[in-house]
């Protein structure tokens, strides 16, 4: 007991001098640890494929599809760029629509009660089931991917923003109202900053949603993009090409996720006190 009490203050004081170095090391570890994990998964994968001698159209070895990726990087990257364009456009439009809609719904109790059930009802329809309708309305092509991405990713943003705005902080509102603030001021200076942590939560859902929407639309109604590559590859039993395309997709997803994480750390650090 007494020995533990004596060592405790030393343990608290110790990290102080090494704080800066520790921060660098932590940042490095945050990259290296998950990277190491991913590489070891690839290694196990490689070993399994080689030992079981699986044919590439069932499961290609990482060395196999990475070689394909390098050899055919030009068309693959071109298709990837198309997918990235559709996804990012859809994502940007979807998130903007979601934020505006969420703020409108969340700031009025009447609108909240009126619209919320309809919104949930709408969302129970799998958005990708609407793609054939979009094709009828707007014709086939890359814009279908954008539209689908918008439809898939505006929803989580809308619902989460509406809830975040609707859950009020009357004592903070009073601070502003006692200064004669307008509703716009309260929204801009209290409601929106307060909703920021939840907004970033919804952003992560929107990122995956935008990719799903784009890829599914490309497999159904387009002749370009990674989704289209997937269709071509599976039709010709080219497993290596399919996986090469998928690996590009995974890289894009991780990049976008990392970007939103970076923004989140910058903007909502206050919400993660002491961590």
């Amino acid at each position: 007991m007494s020995a533990a009490a004596e060592t405790a203050p030393a343990a608290v004081a110790a990290p102080r001098p090494a704080r800066l170095r520790g921060r660098h090391r932590r940042a490095l570890a945050a990259v290296l640890v998950p990277l190491g994990f991913a590489l070891s998964v690839l290694a196990v994968w490689e070993a399994v494929v080689r030992i079981a001698a699986l044919p590439p159209f069932i499961l290609p070895a990482p060395s196999n599809f990475l070689a394909v990726l390098i050899a055919r990087h030009e068309p693959i990257l071109m298709m990837a760029a198309q997918t990235a364009r559709s996804t990012l456009t859809g994502f940007a439009i979807g998130v903007s629509v979601g934020v505006v809609l969420g703020c409108v719904i969340g700031s009025s109790r009447v609108i909240y009660r009126m619209v919320y059930p309809a919104l949930i009802g709408f969302h129970t329809i799998p958005s990708v089931a609407l793609i054939p309708l979009f094709v009828i309305w707007f014709g086939a092509g890359p814009h279908i991917a954008v539209i689908t991405a918008v439809v898939v990713c505006f929803f989580p943003v809308t619902v989460i923003m509406a809830t975040a705005i609707a859950t009020s902080a009357p004592e903070l509102d009073d601070v502003l109202r006692s200064l004669g603030a307008t509703r716009g001021d309260v929204m801009l200076k209290v409601a929106l900053p307060r909703a920021l942590p939840q907004f970033f939560g919804s952003l992560k859902l929107a990122i995956t949603g935008a990719f799903i929407g784009t890829i599914v639309a490309e497999t159904i109604a387009a002749n370009s993009g990674i989704g289209y590559v997937m269709v071509v590859a599976t039709n010709s039993m080219d497993g290596a090409l399919a996986f090469a395309a998928l690996s590009v997709l995974a890289a894009m997803g991780v990049t976008l996720y990392a970007a939103s994480l970076f923004l989140e750390r910058r903007l909502t650090g206050w919400a993660y006190r002491g961590r």
Partner: protein
């Protein structure tokens, strides 16, 4: 006699409607002169906070008139600064930017602040210095102690140089030592540039330490039982609280409060 700066004329307040209506404030009339420091004391739930919200315009009176600076109050008014029992700092803003908040909202400061922030930042820093928060400007609220947050909240309430400061039990959640320290801080801020203050509190010593005039209110529905002038010379210190006049006034207020409270059945 000049017209009072704050005037309540037979003001009543009722919460809810119809069957569920509960009267919070019986017809209340009072006048507060410009530069006067007023304290309102009373048992909990007597409508003290409602009184403040009526003066600030955050609540509308059910009947009667509220007049501040010769203007009838119908909506939240601009010339007030308010501090609450909770510091209510915006958790995503640094201490400095919390203090600057009124400059971003209240006209004419809003327009001036947008053009030139420097004088306002300087004033905010100056305020923080006077309450002993120099060096904490860039800290987030959760990094400050409760007492420090409350000081920052006081600075924010004074940022736009309000002519009327409304304080709703601002020291209620603090420990006794911090509270007494902040009495001195508030008194010196007020003595530098007297503004009108209405302080709601349940601490009788706090009321006597700070105020020129003390109103005692009854239990809900609230009504004014006593108006007491207290002109002990300033600056008052903790030693003043042992002055015979202070002790006598305290005993007198306490007797009225005992009267004001709804009788609680005593255990024999």
């Amino acid at each position: 006699m000049a017209r009072p700066f704050v005037e309540l004329d037979r003001v009543t307040l009722t919460y809810g409607e119809g069957e569920e209506a509960t009267p919070a404030l019986d017809p209340t009339s009072l006048g507060i002169a410009e530069g006067e420091f007023v304290a309102v004391v009373g048992p909990s739930g007597c409508g003290k906070s409602s009184l403040l919200k009526l003066v600030s315009g955050l609540l509308k009176a059910s009947s009667g008139n509220v007049v501040v600076a010769a203007q009838e109050v119908t909506a939240p008014i601009k010339i007030v600064g308010m501090a609450f029992q909770n510091p209510n700092l915006l958790p995503w803003r640094s201490t400095l930017r919390n203090v600057l908040l009124p400059a971003e909202i209240v006209q004419p400061h809003r327009a001036r602040y947008r053009r030139d922030k420097a004088p306002y930042v300087e004033r905010a820093r100056q305020l923080l210095r006077t309450v002993g928060l120099e060096g904490f400007e860039q800290k987030l609220p959760w990094q400050l102690s409760g007492g420090m947050q409350q000081r920052a909240s006081l600075c924010r309430a004074l940022m736009h140089e309000p002519s009327l400061l409304l304080l709703d039990e601002p020291f209620g959640a603090l420990d006794a030592f911090t509270r007494e320290e902040l009495w001195a801080v508030l008194q010196s801020l007020w003595m530098q540039k007297p503004f009108t203050v209405i302080l709601v509190t349940h601490d009788l010593r706090e009321a006597l330490y700070l105020a020129d005039t003390i109103y005692v209110m009854s239990a809900r529905p609230g009504r004014i039982l006593l108006r007491k002038n207290f002109d002990l010379p300033r600056p008052r210190t903790l030693d003043s609280t042992y002055d015979t006049r202070f002790v006598q006034a305290l005993a007198e207020l306490r007797a009225h409060i005992a009267e004001a409270r709804t009788p609680v059945p005593a255990f024999a």
